[in-house]
Structure formats: C-alpha cells, structure tokens
Amino acid sequence: MPMQPDRQTENQASGQAGEVILSVRNVSKAYGKITVLKNVSFDISKGEVVALLGENGAGKSTLSSIIAGLAIPTEGQMQWQGKPYAPVSPSDALAAGLGLIHQEMRLLPELSIAENIFVGRLPVRSGRIDNLEMYRRAEEQLKRLGLNVSPATKVKYLRVAAQQQVEIAKALTLNARFLILDEPTAALGGEETDRLFEQIERLKREGVSFIYISHRLEEIARIADRVIVLRDGELVANFDSAKVPVPELVEAMVGRQLDRIFPHLPAPTHKPLIEVKNLSSAEGDFHDVSFSVSAGEVMGIAGIIGAGRTELVRAIAGADPVNGGSVSVDGQVIVLKSPADAMAAGIALVPEDRKLQGLVLDHTIGNNIALGNYPRITPRNWVTPSEIRSFATTAIKRFGIKGGPDQRASELSGGNQQKIVIARAISAGPKVVILDEPTRGIDVGARSAIYDVIAELAKQGMAVIVVSSDLDEVLGLSHKVLVMARGRNQGILSGAEATRHAVMERATA
C-alpha cells in the first residue's frame, strides 16, 4: 500500500473534544480506472456516533469496507488508537476491535444464537466444545444488550431485529470498540428502532464508537452526534452537530436543492376500480380487510412491520392464497388462484423485494422488461431479440431508466432496478397497480423519480396502492391512507385526518 504524507486537507472533518480513536487520512480507492473514493479524511472520537450519509454509489460501502478490512485502499492511511492501522482482512479489523454489521444479515440460521456468536472460535475444553461456557458468555452479551432470549435458540426463529442484535452481540464478544452499522433500521419497525437506539446509547456510554449509515434521515438527529456526507466518493460536508434540518442533509447528499419531493396529485374520480371486501388470508396474516380505490386515486397502506400489509397486497395480486372475502376489478369479482389470474384481471404488483421477487438479476434489462409481456410485444407468439430490444427501449425511455436493453439488471442502481420492475408491471396495461415498499433502499435523489412515476400512473387513470414503512412517503404520496395493525384494517384516513399522529396511533393500536 503506497503511503502518503500526512497532510491536512479541506475534506478533513475534525472530531469533537475527546480522545480520537480512529483517524482516516486521504484515503482513496480505485477499481481499475474508476475511482470510488477520493481523498477522504475524518476523525472519530471515543464514544461518538457519526452518521455517514450519501446516495447509493457515493462510496459509503467502500469506506466502511476499508475500515473493516474488506477492501484495501489504493492510497491513504488510517490510525487506530494512535497506531498505524492497515487491515488486510476482516479478521485483522476484528482483532483490532473494529466490526462491521451488514445490512444483510450474515448469520447461520440453523445454529443457535450462542454458536453464531462464537462461530470460528468456539470455546473448547479438553477437546470438546464447552457448551456451558459458550452459553454463559453469550448470555452475558445478550443481557448487556437488554435481550431476554435463551442463547440456545436457533437464529432462524428470531425476528430480523433480534438477529441484528445477535450480530451486534457477536461483535461485542470480540471486544469491538468500534462498530459500523450499515442501514441497521432498514427492516425494523418503530419500536424495534427505539430499542436499537437505546442499545447504541448504552454502548456509547461504555466508550464504543459508531459509524451509522442510514437512508432514514429523520433518525440522524436522534442517534448521531455528528454527520459526515459523501458524494461521488468525496467527503463533501461535515456537520459538527447532528441537529441539521433534513432538507439541508438532502441537499448535501444530492448536491442540489430538493424543494418539493412529492408530486402534485389531481383529485381522484369517484369510479371505484378495485373493491376488496372482507378479505382474509389463508395463513392468518390478515383478517376481514375491506377498501376500495378509484381510478386516478393513490391509496397508501401504513403500518409497522408484521402488520400484514405485504401479505394483504400479495394476496390481492394472487401471489398468496386467500380464505374468504372477495376482490373485484371494475365491478367484476375475480378468482385469485395465481399471479397470472390477477394480471389477467388487470392487477399488477411491484413486489417488496426487487432483487428476490422483482428481477432476474443476471438477465438483461430487455429480458426483464419483456418477461410476462410477450403477448404485448408481438401478437404472433414468436419473438425476435430485436423486437424485445425495441419494446424495452420504449419502456426505458418512458420511465427514464439509465441503462440499455442489453445491460444486465444487476449492474443498475436500486432506483433504476425498481423502475425496470415498474416498467414490466405497467407494460401489461393494468387497471390497478400495487407497489410494495417502492423506495426501500433507494437514494433520496432517485426516490422523487419513483414518486413522479407513481403520480403519473394515477393521472393516467389507474388505481394505485402504495405500501410503505416511510410515514412521510405514505402521507405525501396518497389521497388516503389505510392503516393496518395486527392484520386488521384500523381505519382509512384522508384529507386533514391523515396526520403522522393519527396514523401512528392506529398503527400501534
């Protein structure tokens, strides 16, 4: 690794008063000709939570990978507790006391909590695994995090939030003094987020430092002490306090003013396009849900994780079985046995997880858009690659997707991937469009493009249903909001009734 003289740069973000524990100096990273991180410098003090913000592709993951030993910087150097620090593997970083908690969990579902915590370094006594010792030490860490669960529980039985805490516990048993949390709240509900924040506070008091990466800007003021912002691989802003207004953060991230995020929606018609009556899930995930959405109307569905929102919309789209109740489109009751049935009736679903349910990542954009749309590409049941390409190109232009029809879907950013899934769904000419968490994991700048697409669908006379865990999004984007809790419809709010307070009250009922 080439070393550079330690010099102060304009990019440097200095720490608050307190002992500097990690200092990063002029770190750059290039893959071939492409530079993903340019000359980044900052310090982090003991017991400090620093929020690291930036759009997807801004270099957040690269920076955290470098600190955690997953990537080696092309230039620059780091100091950890006053000594030069140049990890070449995650185990180097862990040995020094730095851990990275990934957005996607890296746990072994079939093993117990304790085994997951100690995997690779199981305590051994006289040639055998010392289960008692392992459980005792695991329990100690779980208690430290305020978790009341047996260390013998298999990880697959835990909820996402608890799994995440196992990851944190694992890092703590390695005596981590520094944790990088990558999107820790992406899959958490409000209560679980509060819990996590309490734990961060507790560890902070013990002197543990954090880099906190999140797309949820409202959280930043609550949990962070300082904020640093990356854009295009450069450190563009550092705020000495986390009490920064959200618009200012957004501006720093995207480099431009975002005056209005949500597009204007014209008033809906009074012609109900989809009517759901007393619908219940065959698996007990939701009960007796009724609502209707008119042409040109956007209905949001709010609720905490596990309230049955995704299950409800999947059932309406024919993906999961129903038990009782009815769904009608345009006054016709439809039989829902498969997604194909729902699509034939004019219902299109943009599913929750675009990587696992929305896209064949290894296939081209063209093939992804064409999937399920062949009858619309050609009436002849005979399709050539050039027909697919021109069909896809039309959709690419219409939805402003940044990519060509022959490019692989995996190479695109989250926002553009989401647009591919929407493009496929809309190409079928549906009357009702359901979007489940359409902006999850998508940068702020790209979100408004998705909002524009959603508003456009409503303007074209479709009935639109949007499920979102982002309260501002649900409220800003919808004519009315259906709130779910514990599998039931807790009320449909519209106009002045639809406030954050009213929604949260019903969501936690």
């Binding site: 498969s338 997604p339 929305g358 896209l359 064949v360 990542l361 093939n367 999937l371 399920g372």
Partner: protein, 326 residues
C-alpha cells in the same frame, strides 16, 4: 457528469467483448480438438469419420436437448439414462411379447419416457422434492423396472427396417436417427430463442419467484420440461435400440452424467437461467470428438475417462472465470 459517461462507455464495450468470448469458448475448444486429432491421426479428418462421429453422438445429443431445457429452468435430471433403458425395454416387450406393430411399440416407448419425466416433474412441483432427489428416485425405480420386465434379459430380433434407421445413410449421407437429432436440435433452439414459451424457461431458471409473479405458471412449465426430457430419453432409446439391434436393460448406464457434462461444457449454468442448444450441441461434439479421436489414437478407455474429466473441469473453469471477470 462527464465522468459518468466516461465510466460506462468502456464498461459496455467490455461486456459485449466477453459475450463474444463466452459464446465462442466451447467452439474454439472443439476446433482445437479437431485440429489436434487431424494432425495426430491420419484417419480423423475424413467425411466417413465425420459421419461416424455423428452416429456416435446421436443418443447423447438427443438426451442433451432435454437436459438443456431442464438445466435452463434450474433443475437437473439424473434419470435419463435409466428412463432410456426402461423405455427401450417397454418398446421391446410391446413388439416381441405383446405382438404390437413396431411403429406402435415405438410410440409406447416414447410415452413411457414422457410418463417417467412427468413423474419427476410432479415429485418436484407437488411433493416439493428437490430435483436432485426426485430424479434420483425415478432413476432407481426405472432401472429396476427395466430389469423386471425381462428379468434382466436382452430382447433381440427386431425387423430389418428398424435397424436400418440407424445404419443406412439416406442419400449416402445421414441416417434417420442422426437426422432426427439434427431436426430436434433445430426445433429446440428455435423454441428457446424465439418462442415466449422457451424464453419463459430462462426466467424460471433465473428466479422462479420472479417468473411466478410475472404471471408464468412455473409448476406447469416444470412438469412439461421434465416430461419432455423423459420423452426425449424415450426417443433416444429408440435410436439406441436401432443401433444395437436389441433392447438391453443395462443400456444407458451413466449416460445422465455424460449428458449433464455436455450441457455444462456448452456453457449452461447448473444454477439455472443460462444455456443454449447451440452450446449444448458443441458440448456433445466435444465429448464425441474426444472419444472418437482418442479411440483412433488407440488410447485406452480408462485414460479416456480421465481426459474427459479434465476437459469438463477445464471447460467449466474457463466459463466461471470469464463470468467472474465481468
């Protein structure tokens, strides 16, 4: 912003280049093999030997067409060798013992194969067994049934016109069985590339949940693909019986592995969603040419096995490396 365009331009160029590489990799290997044997053996490079190779790869080729479909949807069919034997025995029993006209017996043989494939398909879609286990079970059952039919004895005495299907070269050129293989390969290639039904198979292999949510009936398609693989095993049995002039319950032992090898050498991915008939045909010929050439050079069959194993490993290694580089 100018930087972004600067990044994407060389990137897309690199992709299209590696696509060319990926397509031609197995073909280059085949050409190199042919050059090697042409230089080392005086008999290899002749029209007569070329036709011999075609005759020798026909059974493997017909099986490999079905296996390509199966692997494209992300499955695997371990039963084809045994299904081939069972279909062959059914055909023989129908003609020799039940007195059915041979034409009808051939149809029974093919339907037997289709039924076995459908059984695999149902085990996979209804009983939710992994394809590996389902077809392993069918492999065992059908091999047993093939032996039960005649208590392990072979069936001989087919009419002359039947064996001529494999031996007489029409217009001095192609035998009926080779022609069947070529026609089937062309039809399968066209379906996979140009028919929505074929293209949907790639989506199923790429991600079955995505395919289902896009309105594709994944279970139905899976059953059809396995039934086709079985039917093609039945057809391969007919071609094989004509070539052997008999039905053998031990026929096709281990063929499933050669078939899978041919498909994988041809660039298909066992994780599904990737593969082509043209690649598979090249894979079939790589195995066929290798066997033929090594025989001409007098290399022992044991050494041949070793060499074929090395070729499989090398072919798939290059393919994986090429993909990772992208």
């Amino acid at each position: 912003m100018s930087e972004i365009t600067g990044q994407t331009a060389p990137k897309s160029g690199f992709i299209s280049m590696s696509f060319v590489k990926k397509m031609s990799g197995p073909l280059v290997g085949l050409i190199l093999l042919c050059i090697f044997f042409s230089v080392t053996s005086e008999y290899f490079l002749s029209a007569r030997n070329g036709l011999n190779i075609l005759d020798q790869v026909t059974v493997l080729g017909i099986l490999a067409i079905g296996m390509t479909l199966v692997i494209v949807i992300g499955g695997i069919d371990l039963s084809v060798g045994s299904v081939l034997a069972f279909s062959m025995m059914m055909m023989g029993v129908m003609e020799r013992q039940m007195g059915l006209p041979l034409g009808l017996a051939i149809v029974v043989g093919i339907l037997t194969g289709a039924a076995c494939g459908l059984a695999s398909g149902l085990l996979i879609t209804v009983a939710k067994l992994p394809a590996f286990i389902a077809t392993l079970a069918v492999m065992s059952v059908t091999r047993g049934l093939a032996n039960i039919l005649t208590e392990g004895k072979q069936i001989v005495g087919y009419p002359e016109w039947f064996t001529s299907l494999a031996t007489v070269r029409q217009f001095g050129f192609l035998s009926m069985t080779v022609a069947t293989f070529i026609v089937l390969a062309v039809i399968a290639a066209i379906i996979l590339k140009f028919r929505p039904a074929g293209r949907n198979l790639f989506a199923i292999g790429g991600n079955p949940e995505v395919a289902r949510l896009a309105g594709i009936n994944v279970n139905l398609n899976t059953c059809v693909v396995y039934a086709l693989s079985g039917a093609l095993a039945g057809l391969a049995a007919v071609a094989f019986a004509a070539r052997l002039d008999s039905s053998q319950p031990s026929a096709g032992l281990g063929y499933e592995l050669d078939t899978i090898a041919a498909v994988v050498i041809g660039g298909a991915s066992l994780s599904g969603g990737v593969g082509s008939i043209s690649g598979t045909v090249i894979g079939v010929f790589i195995i066929g040419v290798l066997r033929n050439g090594l025989n001409l050079l007098g290399v022992s069959p044991f050494v041949q096995q070793v060499l074929i194993g090395i070729v499989i490993a090398a072919a798939v290694t290059f393919d994986t490396l090429g993909r990772r580089r992208r």
